[in-house]
Every structure is written in structure tokens, then in C-alpha cells.
């Protein structure tokens, strides 16, 4: 299962993706936009920063930005950063070990095929579908 912390992280990165190139976004802004407890989000963003996904600007007019283009950040990278491996190596090898490894690989493959730029596009499509534009 995907934890709340992890979905918060994904939503935060998606929010930063939307703002890409338009200056930093504060914790408060992200928290309100995505409905995330601000103090919790703070910890998450620091974590992402320490792992090289975001950068922070302190002081007034500060906030967070992505440290790489959203096109080059995959869903899998963020999830692994927040959650660690799905099937952690369980002590010593037994009959299940190779299956867990195969599962881990299959999962990473799926998660690494999607980057945040395409997620942003998808979000826009979903919005257009939900709030149709009736103009000519």
C-alpha cells in the first residue's frame, strides 16, 4: 500500500511541477492547494530536498522549487525516496527471495515509466473532462 506521507509527497511534487519556471512555492501554498497538514508537509519537503529532488530558498520570497526538470523525475524515484524498497531483503535467502526480487523489478519498471510532466498533462486532461468548456 501507498502511505499518506507518500501521496502527500507525490502531490507536492506535482504542484511544484505545475509551477515549474515561475519561482518558488511556499509550504503554505502547497499545503492549501493540495490539502496537506503544513507541518507534516514541511518534513516531507525537507526529506525530498536531502535526496536531491527539491531545493529551498530561505527568507522572504522563499519557498521550494524542483532541482531537476519535471520531465526527468519519475514517480518511482519519489516513491522509493519516501517509502524505501517494497520488498526489503529479509535476512537470508529462502525460496521466496527471487520472487520478491522479480516483483520489486516489475514494480519499479511500472513506476519509472511515468514522469511528472506527463502526470501534469494528465491532470489537465482530467480537469477539462470534469469541467467541460462549452465555448465555440
Amino acid at each position: 500500500m501507498i502511505s499518506k506521507k507518500c501521496t502527500y509527497a507525490l502531490k507536492a511534487v506535482l504542484a511544484l511541477t505545475r509551477r515549474e519556471g515561475s519561482g518558488p512555492m511556499t509550504i503554505q501554498q502547497i499545503a492549501e492547494l493540495q490539502d496537506i497538514p503544513p507541518r507534516f508537509l514541511e518534513a516531507i519537503l525537507r526529506d525530498l530536498k536531502q535526496n536531491g529532488f527539491t531545493e529551498s530558498i530561505r527568507g522572504k520570497e522563499g519557498g521550494y522549487v524542483l532541482s531537476r526538470p519535471a520531465r526527468e523525475i519519475s514517480l518511482g524515484e519519489i516513491i522509493r525516496c519516501v517509502e524505501g524498497p517494497w520488498f526489503s531483503p529479509s535476512g537470508d535467502a529462502d525460496v521466496f527471495t527471487t520472487v520478491w526480487e522479480e516483483a520489486e523489478n516489475a514494480l519499479n519498471k511500472v513506476m519509472d515509466e511515468t514522469d511528472f510532466q506527463s502526470l501534469l498533462r494528465k491532470e489537465d486532461e482530467l480537469r477539462r473532462a470534469a469541467v467541460p468548456d462549452y465555448s465555440i
Copy 2:
């Protein structure tokens, strides 16, 4: 991650696989063989029974047996029975939904490719590798 409960279930089914065709195996026997807390194992085996994977014989000389040939029971079936879906449908559809679905499918595919008979074979191979037989 795979829970302890789930690995206990898998080990129990593997033990029953080894005993296939040679009468029932008691909770105590399985618990000792696989190092599982017996009262906990009891609950797990009842769960597997209610989902049609095992059958129980009560009274003296009783115990548990597989209700289907081990060849036809996949790792995935047992895991789903004990753990439920990996990526549960999170309320309403968002940009991540389709990725979670793809991940779920990829995972099930891997887990369903392995049945317990082949796991038993693999276990035997591992044992031979660990305790080599030097006879001619």
C-alpha cells in the same frame, strides 16, 4: 512490504505442500517445523480454510490438508487472500489511479507465475546446495 502474517501463511502452505497426499498435518507440527507462534498460525489457517485453500479434519488424528493440488495454488492467491490488494482504490480517480492499476497488474502477474509445487522443488534444491551430498 510483506507482513509476518503473510510469510507465515506462505510457509504453512509450503509445509502442507511437502506433506501432500500423506494425511493431515497438525497446527503444532507446522508451527514447530516453520517456527511460527502456534496460536497465531491457528488463526491464519482458519483464514485460509474460509477462503478455500485448506481443509481441516477435527478430532484425534486430525489436522490440515490442502484442498487443491499444490501445482494449482499460486503464490499470488495466498498473498491476496491474506493481505488483500496492494494498491487499494483510493476514493475517487486522480492522476495516479491508472498507474496504481498497472502496478497491481504487474505484481499479480509475477506472483501468479509461481505455484507451490515449484516452490517445493526450489526448496529441495536449496537444501541440497546448503548440505552437499558427497557420496558417489
